[in-house]
Symmetry: C2
Subunit: 222 residues, 2 copies
């Protein structure tokens, strides 16, 4: 069976779970304790990050962007990257925006400093980094709201990898209670639409020991 | 005419220049002073990073990974991503490795701390960050050497985006004199092969005011 090695609070794992779900590709989910640096896992992905996808024919694909490109090429019935060159450029620009810029400026600061750091025994949270994360979240929510208002979905008329990349980041922040959805109605309405898709349902039942999400996390009408 | 907005020491701009060169796609190069946040440029790329590629039909593509995917789809005669699904997965994994992991762990630390910081008037270099950059470079050179020894090119039998992404990062470090090529013979031999390709030639004539590269920078026999 196809296997996705993941961690529940990894936004990149979540993006691939959403992509597999939207494409209705069945898969088994396996937690990978990457900090143990398992040898067989390192052989598949020397960067030792999640996710990694393995296919029944033995193919192992590392890096969430490489996995999503692979899925769109191997299972093209439902495309998540778009049809025309212009659509595909816009989808990829925004997927990179959320995977890269948003993650660096917001998710990593908040998730690492507020939670992972103490779980990993690396000392106290850095208050300045947390403040920066919250500060950076504001313009990102505005941009998200602007995209959601100007277009049916973030990158254009169709749901795409851009929506999945954005929702993956935001769903992790939402799990740790860091998103104030009242600040931007268009962003909230867009997230409600993504959240109510069948592919999103498994993410809403994720639980991490020692970290309880706020009551609205799994609520479709938040 | 097709235009690539770039900066000479941006590894991502260099990667796209190499891709255009390998595909023999003509283009004009324009320096973009991204710190001035020009409005027309922000409209093409709200992230305000280089590179951006514009086509004669008005299409503007932002993000170097999106540009490279676009180039392989729009001009498929010379493929840089590979033919089979497995080849393409490996090329993209390694391109992401150098664009992401290598850049974060090495290039950004050394280029930012040793040069950009003072140019931008942001204070003194952080000695710990510079030390970390040099430390991290060692295992990366070993991995690069191992890939170069095991395969004809980094991702397999053909030159690919993986080679261009790696060479782009290393060429910037080489410009500032931070690569000791004597530490790994296989890596040096691979770089010599990439460096001698016609697509690489324009990068060797790049000059940044106030920053003179070491004599071996433009030397094909270093």
């Amino acid at each position: 069976m196809r296997i996705l090695y993941h961690l529940p609070l990894s936004p990149y794992s979540r993006k691939v779970r959403l992509a597999l779900g939207e494409k209705r590709i069945p898969f088994d989910l396996r937690s990978e304790r990457i900090w143990e640096r398992r040898e067989a896992y390192l052989a598949m992905n020397p960067a030792c990050t999640v996710p990694v996808l393995t296919e029944d024919n033995g193919l192992a694909i590392a890096d969430s962007a490489a996995i999503c490109e692979y899925l769109d090429e191997a299972y093209p019935e439902v495309t998540l990257i778009g049809r025309t060159l212009a659509e595909r450029a816009e989808v990829r620009r925004l997927a990179c925006w959320f995977d890269g810029k948003f993650s660096t400026e917001v998710t990593r600061l908040l998730v690492y400093e507020r939670h992972l750091k103490s779980l990993m025994g690396r000392g106290n949270p850095d208050a300045a980094a947390i403040r920066a994360g919250y500060q950076n979240l504001k313009p990102h929510m505005e941009y998200l709201g602007w995209l959601a208002e100007s277009r049916a979905w973030l990158a254009g008329p169709n749901l795409s990898l851009a929506d999945l990349a954005a929702a993956a980041q935001l769903s992790v922040l939402d799990y740790i209670g860091d998103v104030d959805w009242s600040v931007n109605e268009a962003a909230r309405e867009w997230y409600a639409r993504v959240k109510s898709r069948p592919a999103f349902r498994p993410l809403l039942t994720d639980r991490v020991s020692g970290l309880t999400p706020p009551p609205h996390y799994a609520d479709l009408d938040f």
